[in-house]
């Protein structure tokens, strides 16, 4: 049993979904994604939580150029696989109340994107990683530009060119590493071998990779594609982007950037961590006065991702563990928030927070779900957001005591914009628009129920999830720490 089953099942599913007629497509897509989730569960049950790479596959692809289809799962990848495979069925389920034109293409693209992201999360070969990276981008480009909002074309082109130019820098970096590697290979382990790249060149490699990852996350000041894209993309596309795809950037930092260029990282750690912290404060403050609900969540996401990045750049086992956990939590919470806004906008045809109000009165179940997700987002203890945020802040704290105050302001600011939004949308008196708001039902209830359950269960008993990645993360941190130049 190797990881290739996990990667190719969504590809086959995508092709199969294309054959279905419109009505049945979503059921087929859901069935396939649930099968994929079940497969991931089987992998998880056979997974041994140590630092080794398991279920590895190495198949020659273009061996003359040193390109191999080489992939495997360790604790870090396992978390990412879980994230992807849990969220995709949920996201497909959120589309149940929509009728998309050419639905078979829509769902096929989602499944294909899933395959691309799974490649990214498991690849151990630079070339394969890059292929997966772009393979995930192309479907989301079509999803946004075909099924998006009014300004979709302009916004999507910007998004595509922006992220694509970022990844080209990474491609250059990968090819450069290929040329440097003694045996002319794209193998990750060859890239990370000490002495392949000297300190000076590591700086260049660092920035090349950093640019790609920073744009994808996105990190301040490379974020401006993100709010527009999130706002214009169809709800499912936004969820795929914010829930899973941006984690490709974070994962890239953990798996590729820092292990490959530890000396470059050591040199520029200060700059990137400050950028991340600026992003936290900046994103939060902008979120204060946003009137479009989706845009508000988009800016809040910049803040949250900034915290994850800052925690990683602090480079402690605790910070990385926090990042792993927070990636899961953030994925779940942000999908929940975007789904909330999808429900509101599909019922009322508006996302203006100021036009809403009093929905809690007419839709109590919806209000409870909304509140639980908001609480998860503002990191209340015993919700999933707290564990990650605690560890990440702790990591930033160990790096610099003053930075943690700025980073920690997310605790306050997060409460400000989230509760403000909740108040404007849900509390107060109903108006003509919101008085007829129908409470959630059917698939909506199921999705929000699952999300709320995850928010609370992960907050109360996070240990099993933390356990999956602990050995791998610790091993990674130790390995990289040993490569740092000892500063006198």
């Amino acid at each position: 049993m190797t990881v290739s089953i996990l990667i190719f099942l969504p590809v086959i599913s995508a092709l199969a979904v294309l054959l279905f007629k419109n009505g049945a497509t979503k059921h087929a897509a859901l069935a396939f994604s649930v099968a994929e989730l079940a497969l991931a569960a089987i992998f998880l049950s056979r997974f041994v939580p140590d630092a080794s790479i398991q279920f590895a596959v190495v198949a020659p692809w273009i061996p003359k150029l040193g390109i191999y289809f080489s992939a495997g799962i360790d604790g870090i990848s396992m978390i990412m696989i879980l994230l992807t495979n849990v969220l995709v069925p949920l996201i497909i389920l959120t589309t149940y109340k929509h009728e998309y034109k050419n639905a078979n293409a829509f769902y096929a693209l989602i499944l294909f994107m899933q395959a691309g992201m799974l490649v990214v999360f498991t690849a151990l070969d630079g070339f394969l990683f890059y292929v997966g990276w772009e393979a995930a981008l192309i479907p989301i480009y079509f999803i946004c530009s075909l099924w998006g909002g009014v300004n979709r074309i302009k916004v999507t082109i910007k998004f595509f060119i922006y992220t694509f130019s970022g990844s080209l820098f990474m491609l250059v970096g990968i090819i450069y590493l290929y040329l440097l590697s003694p045996s002319k290979t794209f193998d990750l382990s060859a890239f990370t071998t000490t002495g392949v790249v000297d300190a000076h060149h590591q700086a260049w490699v660092f920035w090349a990779f950093f640019l790609a990852f920073a744009i994808k996350m996105p990190l301040f000041p490379f974020h401006t594609w993100q709010p527009d894209t999130y706002t214009e993309a169809p709800a499912a596309g936004t969820m795929m982007l914010s829930g899973i795809m941006l984690k490709m950037g974070i994962y890239g930092v953990i798996r590729w950037l820092i292990p490959i260029a530890p000396l470059g990282f050591q040199k520029y750690e200060g700059i990137v961590i400050v950028l991340a912290v600026i992003g936290i404060v900046y994103g939060s403050i902008i979120a204060f006065t946003q009137k479009d609900g989706k845009r508000l969540v988009a800016y809040s996401s910049i803040a949250h991702v900034g915290l994850i990045a800052a925690g990683i750049f602090g480079w402690t086992t605790m910070g990385l563990q926090g990042a792993m956990f927070q990636m899961l939590s953030h994925g779940i919470n942000v999908v929940g928030l975007f789904f909330i806004w999808d429900i509101i906008s599909s019922r009322l045809n508006t996302r203006e927070v100021n036009e809403l109000g009093g929905i809690a009165k007419v839709a109590p179940k919806f209000a409870i779900a909304f509140l639980i997700i908001v609480l998860g987002t503002v990191a209340l203890p015993l919700t999933n957001g707290f564990i990650g945020e605690f560890m990440l802040l702790n990591s930033v704290f160990r790096y610099n005591v003053l930075l943690v105050v700025s980073a920690g302001s997310t605790m306050i600011f997060g409460a400000v914009y989230m509760l403000r939004m909740y108040k404007k949308v849900m509390q107060g008196e109903t108006n003509a628009l919101t008085a007829v708001f129908a409470d959630i039902s059917g698939s909506e209830k199921l999705v929000l129920g699952i999300i709320c359950a995850l928010v609370i269960i992960m907050g109360i008993y996070p240990q099993p999830i933390l356990h999956i990645s602990e050995a791998a993360v610790n091993n990674l941190v130790q390995t990289v720490n040993n490569k740092f130049v000892q500063v006198k």
Binding site: K158, I161, Y162, P221, H223, T224, W225, Y282, I285, I286, A287, F288, T289, Q290, T317, M318, Q321, G358, A360, K361, L375, L380, P381, L382, F386, I387, F390, M391, L393, N394, F397, R398, V404, V405, G408, S409, M411, I412, A415, V416, L419, R420, K423, M426, Q427, G428, E429, Y461, P462, Q463, L466, E470, N474
Partner: protein, 635 residues
């Protein structure tokens, strides 16, 4: 007993889940019964825990490992000791009475089930707060009670002002919580653990006896306490929190949650003792808060607002006590305050209930005969808070003031003056409400009635406690060796007591001090009587002119407006500025600029293509020739 400790918080949680799910399906009687009964059972278990602590001292209880990273482990553990066992009794005991009271008070509310679910949830989190054996479990409770406070203040969220008050409370608490959690980070770095059992014994040992980290840690922890316990400058949320139903004000915003800050500092007393600077800051903040809040309370006309500011003021007293090193005294005041302030709030609730929802004291008056039980119990509560012996407040307040006297004479003087203010505004409230002629509408007068038994029984019980509650802490100067509470709590404060030098005044001095504060309270009482009963003075309506000072007090020193101007508005402006200027014009401008630049330069460059084939060929030949020249003449 240790085996059943986990039941104490789990029972209210079960109540929350059952009532939460069945909030619309279950009959009201059952919901009310279940919620109160579960808290009562918790109370019973708490008594068991208390007795065990009395016999065997503190004991821990392990539940499960919450989360861990390598060696750093956070487990979901409880620690029951003298301090937490008393808090358990207060929370479940007073909590039960307030549940009982709420059955009557909320019986006509549409959100009856929801209310009890939230109330149970609050009890759960509050119990976690006091039972936690490490700072992180405490933090769960700490934030959890903040959540419940948010939910209950915004209980009638249809009113935007109430929803805003809820939001404000949560956010202000969050500011404190940030300080708290950073303090916890430092503790973890410094001691390698967040467990009380690891930190406190180590802190008392000489090799950890450096002052600087403690000052930083304790100041940060104190920031947390300032938020939760509504001290300057984060106190403005508490008066607004009166938007919640009155039982909530009694339980959360008087008896339990707001005293969490004092509990936390008393719990970490050794750290604070090692940081005299922080103690001094605490004393000053506490005293200032006590004075400012008392000054505001002097002119408030809303009965609940008076009580809210009085709560802030009393909390200030408790912090003053902590600051001057009177840990026992401060905690004693927490205890007595829980009795008489809960009583006063519930009494006020009974008045409001009788007045069909009216809270303005200018519309009340002469309620003595109509609400006799409420009147007598509230009178007891007022006497207690004013520090008239032998009511409970006298003993605890006196203990704080006596310590303050040895710490600083001027602080003592301000403390006594504040006590006089307290006595004045409390009796002002009492006179305006229960004496004189009825000033409300005819309809209100018609409906005026004493509250049902489920509401008066808690009042009576709390009134009895307010009378006798002080006797567990009789000062040595009056009856030596009968400070039961002090003896019981002494194991908690042993290490601190060893460091703080006990400066006790002579017996005669102490008795003089008592006489001064009692005298002051009586003078204020009499003055209030003359002004509000003899002269039948009624506070003027909102739109009328007030003298400058009175106006300042009535408008709460414009602190809310100040915060609005210096914090909220600039932040909103900044938000807009960041979004419109920096994000859209600045950063996105650069990004789009790169795109536009490419387009523009291509516009210029493409003019080179004229479309004339001859021209193209010519350029080709020129190109080839120049390449040839380059190759031939390169060297």
């Amino acid at each position: 007993m240790d085996k059943y400790i986990w039941l104490i918080p789990i029972l209210p949680l079960a109540g929350f889940i059952i009532n939460g799910i069945g909030r619309n399906a279950l009959p009201k009687a059952f919901i009310g019964f279940l919620a109160s009964f579960l808290v009562l059972v918790s109370f019973g278990l708490s008594i068991g825990a208390f007795l065990q602590v009395q016999h065997t001292g503190q004991f821990p209880a392990h539940l499960f490992n919450w989360f861990s990273v390598l060696e750093f482990k956070v487990s979901f553990d409880f620690l029951i000791d003298q301090l937490s066992s008393i808090m358990l009794l207060i929370i479940t005991g007073v909590g039960f009475l307030i549940h009982l009271y709420s059955i009557g008070y909320m019986k006509d509310d549409a959100g009856f089930g929801k209310f009890f679910a939230y109330l149970n949830l609050f009890i759960f989190f509050m119990l976690l707060l006091v039972m936690g054996s490490n700072y992180l479990v405490m933090f769960i409770g700490w934030e959890g009670v903040g959540l419940c406070s948010y939910l209950l203040i915004g209980f009638w969220y249809s009113n935007p002002a109430y929803a805003d008050a809820a939001k404000k409370a949560f956010i202000m608490n969050r500011i404190g919580d940030l300080g708290f959690i950073i303090g916890i980070f430092i503790l973890i770095v410094f001691f390698g653990s967040a467990n009380f059992a690891d930190i406190f014994p180590k802190a008392a040992t000489p090799q950890y006896a450096t002052t600087t980290p403690y000052v930083v840690i304790t100041l940060l922890l104190f920031v947390g306490a300032v938020g939760k316990s509504a001290q300057l400058p984060l106190f403005t949320w508490l008066p607004d929190a009166m938007a919640g139903p009155t039982p909530v004000s009694a339980l959360i915003h008087a008896a339990t949650m707001v005293t969490a800050g004092i509990y936390m500092i008393a719990r970490s007393n050794i750290l604070f003792t090692l940081a005299p600077v922080t103690l001094h800051v605490i004393a000053i903040v506490g005293l200032t808060t006590a004075v400012v809040a008392a000054l505001i309370a002097l002119s408030q006309t809303d009965i609940k607002k008076v009580l809210a500011y009085s709560t802030v003021s009393q909390l200030g007293y408790m912090f003053l006590g902590l600051g001057v090193g009177a840990y026992t005294g401060a905690f004693f005041h927490v205890l007595t305050h829980a009795f008489f302030k809960a009583l006063l709030f519930l009494g006020a609730g009974s008045v409001i209930h009788g007045m069909s929802g009216e809270q303005d004291m200018r519309k009340m008056g002469g309620l003595r005969s109509k609400l006799p039980i409420t009147f007598i119990t509230m009178l007891i509560g007022t006497l207690a808070i004013s520090g008239i012996p032998p009511f409970a407040g006298f003993f605890s307040k006196d203990e704080i003031l006596a310590h303050t006297f040895t710490y600083s004479k001027s602080m003592y003087a301000i403390g006594v003056i504040t006590a006089m203010f307290t006595s004045f505004y409390m009796f002002r409230m009492l006179y305006l409400t229960f004496w004189g002629k009825f000033r409300g509408t005819h309809e209100q007068e018609h409906h005026l009635h004493e509250s049902p038994a489920s509401m008066t029984i808690p009042l009576i019980v709390l009134a009895i406690l307010s009378i006798v509650g002080g006797f567990i802490g009789i000062p040595d100067s009056l009856w030596s060796g009968h400070h039961i509470l002090g003896k019981f709590l002494s194991p908690v404060f042993t290490n601190s007591a060893a460091i703080l030098k006990e400066v006790s005044s002579s017996q005669s001095t102490e008795i003089t001090l008592m006489a001064i504060s009692v005298g002051g309270a009586l003078i204020a009482l009499v003055y209030a009587y003359l002004r509000y009963v003899k002269n039948a003075h009624v506070p003027v309506a909102d739109e009328e002119e007030r003298p400058a000072l009175a106006s300042l007090s009535y408008h709460k020193f414009y602190i809310d407006e100040l915060y609005d101007t210096i914090i909220r508005k600039p932040l909103d402006f900044l938000s807009d500025f960041f979004y419109r200027v920096i994000d859209k014009l600045g950063i996105d401008g650069i990004v789009n600029g790169i795109g536009k630049g490419t387009m523009e330069s291509s516009k210029g460059l493409r003019l080179l293509q004229t479309g004339n084939v001859g021209y193209y060929i010519f350029m080709m030949v020129v190109g080839i020739i120049s390449i040839l020249f380059y190759i031939v003449f390169k060297k």
